[in-house]
Symmetry: C2
């Protein structure tokens, strides 16, 4: 356990991280919360959080850990380090009258957009071939690149789920000269409906929903098929996993995408949602057969992927171990939300990213 | 030699490419210039361009090849497939009264911006480690990424030379949440001066010069040192090679950059200019010692890099064989300029990208 008493503010912030924080991150926390007492406790130390720390804590930042409410009488804000909060909603501390619950929704877009665009460019710009040439000290002739590499400029990207992550991807895609098409469950037909609610990292994403050149919506198979027929080069899957989105994309959908794609390069699938949103067997077939040109998965089904699973070696498939949002900025970005809410609380304003435990969002 | 007579327009377009064009590219040419007679001649066939083709040609698109002016009496426009035109300026065909010369300047920005951002992300997001993990079927724990990866968001990028390439890089950098600082030889203090002149691929780059949060200029060592002291995480070198820019960045400059960088990750150098703009020995030392965190070179000194050269294996250095602009879009993009100039010519407007042979630009 690491206790830092940096200030003499009245707030006592207890942070229970899910991994060991680096010295850099700790330093950033200290600077950020100069006027707040900060305690960082690692639950994997297997030592319980001391009673006096829990007694004093007014704000709890956690991923999974939640104490008995009677041991933490002064906690008034629980901030969860993930975007989803389902796993804590029913806990008596969170249910206690006077306790606010906030999520980290909105901080994932910036790093995930980087991961997505890296996946696209590594595939389209033939990075692995370039890398091999360097390793073998070979100055490759340019012909092969000149006749095979396509830029992303002018390509059409369909984004399934236009939330904070979809919007962050859209911003980078638009800067590359790509044309963005948004798909949402419910209609977004006016400026108010196109606006993003909830936290966004400042100066990122598309808060007003101005980037898509077309908007589409629906929850039926017909509506989705119509969207996939637009002539898309990319699909970015950024929807929550629900009964309706399970196996949302499979052989049928990959076929529609492939048939309607107008470029020389077949469509590319980017999944930043849960693995089960895609039919992985169908994805493997589509990649091996050339129906799709490539795919990037940050989560798989099963998850994590066992060593012996055939998916690891599928042609033109990039698999990463759920790290698309995992950067040194993760904790500082999540704590920015706590910081903003401390300010809002002082000013008597409504909190950002507050989850109402009765509604679950 | 391939002759295509697609139309019955009065223009005869002779294209002498520097590599074999793909079927896709030929098809694009045919579609683009439907009303113009197009002849594609490969000079590496070692067959001279037939007299009757030269006789008819009104527009010549070439990289190096230029015929005796008496053999090509009807040529009124020479369009060069490169950004620079130094190598053709003094040729008698180009010097002939009534012949206009245009360059391909402006088409390199879009693909080079992709190459630059790929180089940054591959380094910052630890792509090689991710790739190795996939190859060995390993689902890596997230801790290492969480404590080591930095996003580009909030990082400061200095762009040396704010032309079409610098502007294209700036656009993608800004979308990633980076802060752009521009450096030019001459002062750009008003909106007119900040504007880009010359061709830009539509909807790319920063035509009005609105993205930089600061502008700097000068040709002295002092002015450059001041720029490099801003606290930059990235330097993008996009200046022409002149006596003044030879060895522009060396041990002294890398030291200034490193000392002033405020991030945990040391500065990253991206060179899309000629190799000799950087002192490569100093670069190798700076990378091996950790003064710099990484670098990406698309041209080297010497160029091409011999197989035995030690630069190939320098730590955290990415080398590519001058392919940053080499995509399937290269010829179509370059010919877009010819197409636009045919239109302008019909409308009696001044040509875009025209180089005045007396001035050399």
């Amino acid at each position: 356990m690491l206790t830092k008493t940096n200030g003499h503010g009245e707030e006592h912030l207890l942070i229970v991280p899910f991994v060991q924080l680096s010295a850099t991150t700790i330093k950033q926390l200290e600077e950020r919360f100069g006027q707040v007492t900060v305690t960082v406790h690692y639950i994997e130390d297997d030592s319980p959080v001391p009673d006096d720390v829990l007694q004093r804590a007014t704000i709890l930042v956690t991923m999974f850990y939640l104490p008995d409410p009677f041991r933490a009488p002064n906690v008034k804000l629980v901030h969860v380090l993930s975007a989803g909060v389902d796993h804590v909603l029913s806990h008596p501390l969170v249910q206690r009258v006077g306790v606010s619950l906030t999520s980290s929704s909105g901080i994932h877009g910036t790093p995930i957009a980087e991961w997505a665009v890296m996946s696209w460019l590594v595939a389209s710009r033939r990075y692995q071939i370039l890398q091999r040439a360097q390793k073998s000290h070979t100055w490759d002739p340019i012909n092969e690149y000149l006749n095979s590499v396509e830029t992303q400029h002018g390509k059409h990207v369909g984004i399934l789920g236009y939330g904070s992550i979809g919007r962050a991807v859209a911003k980078v895609a638009a800067a590359l000269g790509m044309k963005v098409h948004a798909y949402t469950a419910t209609a977004r037909t006016n400026p108010q409906a196109k606006r993003h609610t909830g936290y966004l990292i400042p100066a990122t994403g598309d808060p007003e929903g101005q980037l898509p050149i077309s908007w589409h919506h629906g929850t039926s198979r017909e509506a989705l098929d119509k969207f996939l027929s637009l002539g898309l080069d990319h699909i970015v899957v950024a929807v929550p996993l629900t009964a309706q989105t399970t196996a949302l994309l499979g052989a049928h959908e990959f076929g529609i995408l492939s048939k309607n794609c107008k470029s020389a390069t077949k469509p590319f699938i980017t999944n930043i949602a849960r693995g089960r949103v895609l039919d992985h067997d169908a994805l493997a077939v589509a990649l091996e057969s050339g129906t799709l040109s490539g795919a990037a998965l940050d989560m798989t089904d099963p998850h994590p992927l066992p060593e012996s699973h055939p998916l690891w070696d599928v042609r033109n498939l990039q698999i990463t171990p759920h790290i698309s949002a995992m950067t040194r900025d993760y904790f500082p970005s999540s704590l920015d939300i706590v910081y903003e809410n401390l300010e809002r609380s002082r000013l008597g304003e409504p909190l950002v990213n507050e989850v109402h435990t009765d509604r679950g969002y």
